[in-house]
Symmetry: C2
Subunit: 521 residues, 2 copies
Amino acid sequence: PALFDYRVWVIASDGDMMEGVGSEASSLAGHLRLGALNVLYDANHISIDGSTDLAFSEDVAARFAAYGWHVQTVEDGNDLDALHLAIEAAAAERTRPSFIRVHTVIGFGSPKKAGTAKAHGEPLGAEAARATKRALGWPEEAEFLIPDEAREAFAAARKRCEPHHAEWRRRHDEWAAAHPELAAELARRARLELPAGWQERLPVFPAGASLATRAASGKTINAIAPAIPELLGGSADLAESNQTTIEGGGDFEAATPAGRNMRYGVREHAMGAIMNGLALSGLRPFGGTFLIFSDYMRPSIRLAALMRQPVIYVFTHDSIFLGEDGPTHEPIEHLPALRAIPNLVVLRPADANETAAAWRVALERTDGPTALALTRQKLPTLAEAVERAATGVARGGYVLADAEGGTPQLLLLATGSEVHVTLAAQKLLAGEGIRARVVSLPSFELFARQPPEYRDSVLPPTVERRLALEAASPFGWDRWVGPSGLVHGIARFGESGKYEDLAVHFGFTAGNVAAMARKLL
Amino acid sequence: PALFDYRVWVIASDGDMMEGVGSEASSLAGHLRLGALNVLYDANHISIDGSTDLAFSEDVAARFAAYGWHVQTVEDGNDLDALHLAIEAAAAERTRPSFIRVHTVIGFGSPKKAGTAKAHGEPLGAEAARATKRALGWPEEAEFLIPDEAREAFAAARKRCEPHHAEWRRRHDEWAAAHPELAAELARRARLELPAGWQERLPVFPAGASLATRAASGKTINAIAPAIPELLGGSADLAESNQTTIEGGGDFEAATPAGRNMRYGVREHAMGAIMNGLALSGLRPFGGTFLIFSDYMRPSIRLAALMRQPVIYVFTHDSIFLGEDGPTHEPIEHLPALRAIPNLVVLRPADANETAAAWRVALERTDGPTALALTRQKLPTLAEAVERAATGVARGGYVLADAEGGTPQLLLLATGSEVHVTLAAQKLLAGEGIRARVVSLPSFELFARQPPEYRDSVLPPTVERRLALEAASPFGWDRWVGPSGLVHGIARFGESGKYEDLAVHFGFTAGNVAAMARKLL
């Protein structure tokens, strides 16, 4: 038998059956024929507002059959024999995920609250708890009682299982002795350690070439993927746009479970949730969608942050400069909304080398998720960043191009594609004798974590004239710019148009930035 | 026949079938037996990444049957007779929503791109467009051609329908003449005007009483609901917790379509989407859930803002002070994440009278949505706010309690429940001869919109020592506090505990605020 053949058991509620994320994930599980997945649906017919008759009368078992699942119903959740048989049948079914609808009574045994919403939304209370114990033949005064019968049953189970565990350990050790390299690899992954020397594969992009940061991300992924076998890619039906495909990695499908590219379909929320599960099982998953659709998966992003799981989000088409798709596809508030999540690192690299550095940060994190915001449009690879990006990005912000001829009169702060506009504005201003420093600030979180001396060296407190440029909601920028500064963002929805036209329309041009800078001084 | 008996037709794609929000809404539509709703599912088997075989192999028709829909399949979308018959059968079915799966070929007629993802993600291009026209027997050079045959068919349809329209107008006018008050009411609603004098019903809460802002919201709703018949309530299975029930309004269910309370089930995303539809049809919907679950419905909130629809979100349990449910239920980043959305007004009232004022703002908005953030825990009704709340909240921020004995040395800014902590801190500081002004700032957006003179009168630029207090991520507060100030928020996830204990643990006590204030000075 295989060394790893565990099954996954889920206990789900009526509410779980109503939430869309469960529908998305269950549809995909059926498609992928995940035979090791088993769901026990605790169908107690009650949610917080009362009977599910208020809002939920679909045939859940028929729905799961439509997803391609193996479906059973247990009419009475207290019929342990029926439950046992159903669980055995589910475990025996290895080519489809299994769904067992178990009809139960919420608050079973409580004379007044059984089968009512009161047993869901609030504690039973002392009196009702006593009445319930009485009805169930349980000692009324016991607060935390393990009956001998239960203790014996668990002890017997332990005795029964110990030889199985010993046998598994024996097989594992035998395997480890026969395959020392594989065993070391397994131990490495369990420690969430990356393979030695993987960083040497990170690409260095020559200055001058023109490529979108999403393209630089795709090249980075493919440069490092051969060295990091636990890296598992995927996209919510935008693999080509997100440039997330591990070339030659194959698709993860029912017939090809060693594939390294997940095909999540148009299911961003499930993608986020599934990546959490993949990370919890020791893989290093990344998944792509457009930045605008990060909204669909926020609850899962939050859980990754809360559970300290190193999931990586590849969010491309990261501004109005995606162009013609218009305001429904143009992110505005998404960068600040992501920056507000505790323990999420958001990185918006300015060029190809900053992108490679951002990937390094993301992979070296082991205690939380990372979101990469990447451009659709091409950007020149900056000579300034070739050597500086690696350490600069890791610190969240750095001086990309300092003022020439003395202390800067002005700081120009930007992220991503807008860094290029500030560089051009810096040149215009230099022509007029104005000394401006350009600071690339790919990550608020990483920069905020630096010692004050470093932050002050990048943003000298004495230079109060500061102009921040980002094609997104200006919300949250004041921290870096202060009351004597100016944030040029987009505090409204976007427009459809060619990205060069949108740049003029929204004032993201060197000329406009220089004009705003002059006014500030 | 009824004056309003229109049907709703939806054309949906494979992607729409994969997204969870569609599953949620379709399950509810089946439950509610929405016979006027009809979906044509354009099953072309292609999404952006390629064949839907990659990720989507469920039986969609069986799924909709499980939801309780009337389901048909048209094997060939170009078989107009079959399509016509299916549409007629769908229209005739008035007790269940109808689902017509129509098998089609994407890019039909294009010799090279028909049936491929290329026809989805990119334009055909000049050459392929010409080849397609050739294959379809269409004039190759025509750029925008309406053939005579089509022109005649549309002209005939117009001729056929004009008498129906005239007949409807006649019936409408007859009805309006017979029911002038109802006709005036209909016209009023079409103008999105509220009934004259509705504001007089807004409650004034006496100082000293102790109630949660969610409770004040519930009382406000029930005070005004009789005067505003287009107000339609609801909750995502948290009606009692959110206090969103219109008492005596009845539930909107299949058998009671005049009910004023929607039972959305545990389906926040669908609730947001459905409220957008309700608003677009002239109703004034509000819907409740916990603030933490606003994440589930962000795409719908964004669309309300983009479409300028006056949807109202009742987000209760608005901080860690909800207590024992712990970090999965305690919002942290949600206030800033909502504040970042353009054209959304976020209001976090500090007491009962600020809550009534917030409802007034929300209802008087006609060009965009409003989110109310309300407490679970009780709060005293402030003497200071009884008269000042109405105008103060409408301006987004105001001086709630000024320093006594001269110009303030310090500003204490807060929203919601934390306003009470700053008031207590103000008293402690006054005892030490420190003059602090307390500013209640329920809405960043409304305050930002005020003339600079007003803003400066509330936050005098000369008073640079400022302390902001909010039990949420501090992200975005720097705008009001500046570099000489301090923001005391929660830049991490919450903890489970009694709310009084959490207040101490996270430093939201008068003593700690006074200590921080002393340090600032």
